[in-house]
């Protein structure tokens, strides 16, 4: 499914996610992890209504902080990666609420580290998992599904 995807919006999303996740760990605020998980889950379900997307469109773009970088591609892997991030952050919050802070903060920081690996090192952990799942046939690609 070829649509225009704004790649700077995705990077903005990843940087925002990293900042909130790290701030949550530094200030010991588990509720921030829950909020972050909800933001990512909502963004996975409806990408246009995600909080970071709204901030990008209503603040970052008008203020000239970033410029759109539209590329024609398949948005499925992005949504998949966000869904994985939301799941990990959900598990992180559950662990924190259940009294397992080491596991909880480790999951939170892992999501932050992988998001930054994508931005800084061009290593897409979501792509890694997506590729492996497609390779073993657990996920069908958009081209195959049509």
């Amino acid at each position: 499914m070829a649509v225009k995807v704004d790649h700077n919006a995705i990077k903005f999303n990843q940087v925002s996610l990293t900042i909130v996740a790290v701030v949550a760990a530094l200030t010991n605020q588990p509720w921030l992890v829950a909020v972050l998980a909800l933001i990512l889950a909502a963004s996975t379900a409806r990408p246009q209504s995600g909080l970071f997307r709204v901030l990008y469109q209503r603040a970052a773009l008008p203020l000239g902080l970033v410029r759109p970088h539209l590329v024609e591609d398949d948005p499925a892997p992005h949504r998949f990666a966000q869904g994985v991030g939301a799941t990990f952050l959900g598990l992180s919050w559950i662990a924190l609420a259940a009294g397992a802070p080491v596991l909880g903060w480790a999951l939170d920081l892992l999501v932050a580290a992988l998001a930054m690996a994508n931005v800084a090192l061009n290593f897409c952990a979501g792509c890694f998992v997506y590729y492996q799942l497609r390779r073993i046939g657990w996920i069908r690609g958009a081209a195959q599904a049509e």
């Binding site: 790649h7 939170d108 061009n122 492996q132 390779r135 690609g141």
Partner: protein, 132 residues
């Protein structure tokens, strides 16, 4: 004590990432010991670029880097794009774990580098022999 908990969590994540990186480096080193002379055309260095049809960074990062490399090296290097899902045996031969991945093969068929994740044209060029 929450601060030691968070420090422990940070250390745990750092250790996981370090072990993953070391494992990846070791795996790449193991696959680099293989030769790929049978893939060369006209004994020119070869860059194999593994992707999939729905790989985003393959289109947005890797493909422009390959185009830049081709523009600079012209016909002194061959660049071959490979769909890793359509050619799993070729992907398996170099231990491809993710896309985009690139494999640089020298003019003698020696595997010079295996890059997991997007690689810019300068990174690919540094593995190409001086005489190219």
């Amino acid at each position: 004590m929450m601060i030691p908990d968070r420090l422990l969590a940070f250390s745990l994540v750092a250790a996981v990432l370090a072990v993953s990186w070391a494992g990846l480096a070791w795996r790449s080193w193991r696959f680099r010991r293989r030769t790929a002379a049978d893939l060369l055309v006209n004994s020119r260095p070869l860059v194999l670029a593994f992707s999939t049809p729905d790989c985003v960074p393959c289109k947005t990062i890797q493909k422009p880097a390959l185009e830049e490399l081709q523009r600079r090296y012209q016909d002194r290097v061959n660049i071959r794009e490979v769909d890793a899902l359509a050619q799993p045996e070729l992907a398996g031969r170099f231990g491809i774990l993710t896309v985009p991945s690139t494999v640089v093969v020298g003019a003698t068929g020696v595997v010079l580098a295996i890059n997991h994740g997007a690689a810019d044209w300068e990174k690919l060029a540094q593995f190409l022999p001086e005489e190219v």
